[in-house]
Symmetry: C2
Subunit: 141 residues, 2 copies
DNA sequence: TTTTTTATAGAAAACAATTATCGAGTAGTT
DNA sequence: AACTACTCGATAATTGTTTTCTATAAAAAA
């Protein structure tokens, strides 16, 4: 993993810096799909001098070398995911958490659309919104 | 149509104004999925004093009374659609146009996800991106 | 119709997410 | 060690959207 990002950065002429490693490590070890600000806040303790701009610039690079994907979950800010398979997400409209939708095969659906349109489809993004189990429980009390 | 919006506005205590009618008319007679700025620009000739803020505020109201839906097509701004069925969209990454994806039944897919997750799904949004027929032709020259 | 009440339009300012700029600093090379 | 090019992070700029405020237009009352 760590070897991977180091060489990927170097091969493309990007320098390997503690900030970049920290950001990628943080992202690849969480399932929370954080946005830039969450990443920034989480790393602030360990890297007190790091700025939000660095997070944004690093995400740009990580996206470029194919290590992260940018999610649009219907919010005002983007979220990031170190899992590179294209999978659907669901966001809780009450607590804001974004999770993966598991066990869903999107290929059939994507193929159907690809064949039904004259566009040359390059990618897609699916997101659902609703109420998470925790908030459902909270509501029923 | 016009009766519909007029009474819908009135019933909810909103006033019926020329601006609101113009914005809704423009939106419901186009297939272009315009964003706020496009709507503003298009109406500027006829309503020279109308401001962008009015467009945004009107869209908020129209959304509230169920006459428009807000689309997130993976851009930096929102697009609006007077067609209220939930249907997928495809955006051309070269010319930026956003179109409907026709002849696709999303219900089966949505149901599958609904049953596979512990979330109580309230809605979803699917968007594809790729290259439109026009831009494909342009590219091959 | 005229008056009164109340919501609205639009200008301007405020906001929030993101991007650009730039000088000092640092990694990797010679 | 010295050099060079890339990068960091502070700051400013940008952009889409929302809020604020007040004259005014629309609806209700008279
Ligand atoms: Mn994910
Ligand atoms: Mn549409
Ligand atoms: Zn929740
Ligand atoms: Zn195109």
């Amino acid at each position: 993993m760590e070897v991977c990002i180091t060489s990927l950065l170097r091969d493309r002429g990007f320098k390997v810096t503690p900030q970049r490693l920290a950001i990628y490590n943080m992202l690849s070890s969480t399932k929370s799909h954080p946005n830039a600000e969450m990443i920034f806040n989480e790393l602030q303790a360990m890297y007190p001098t790091m700025s939000l701009a660095t997070v944004y610039k690093t995400m740009e690079i990580l996206k470029e070398i194919g290590l992260v994907q940018v999610l649009n979950a219907g919010e005002d800010s983007f979220r990031y995911d170190a899992v590179m398979t294209n999978h659907p997400h669901v966001r809780c409209t009450e607590c804001g958490q974004v999770e993966d939708v598991y066990d869903i095969n999107i290929d059939a659906f994507v193929n159907e659309v690809s064949q039904g349109t004259k566009y040359q489809i390059m990618g897609q993004q699916f997101y659902f919104h609703g109420i998470c189990p925790t908030c459902q429980r909270k509501n029923s009390n």
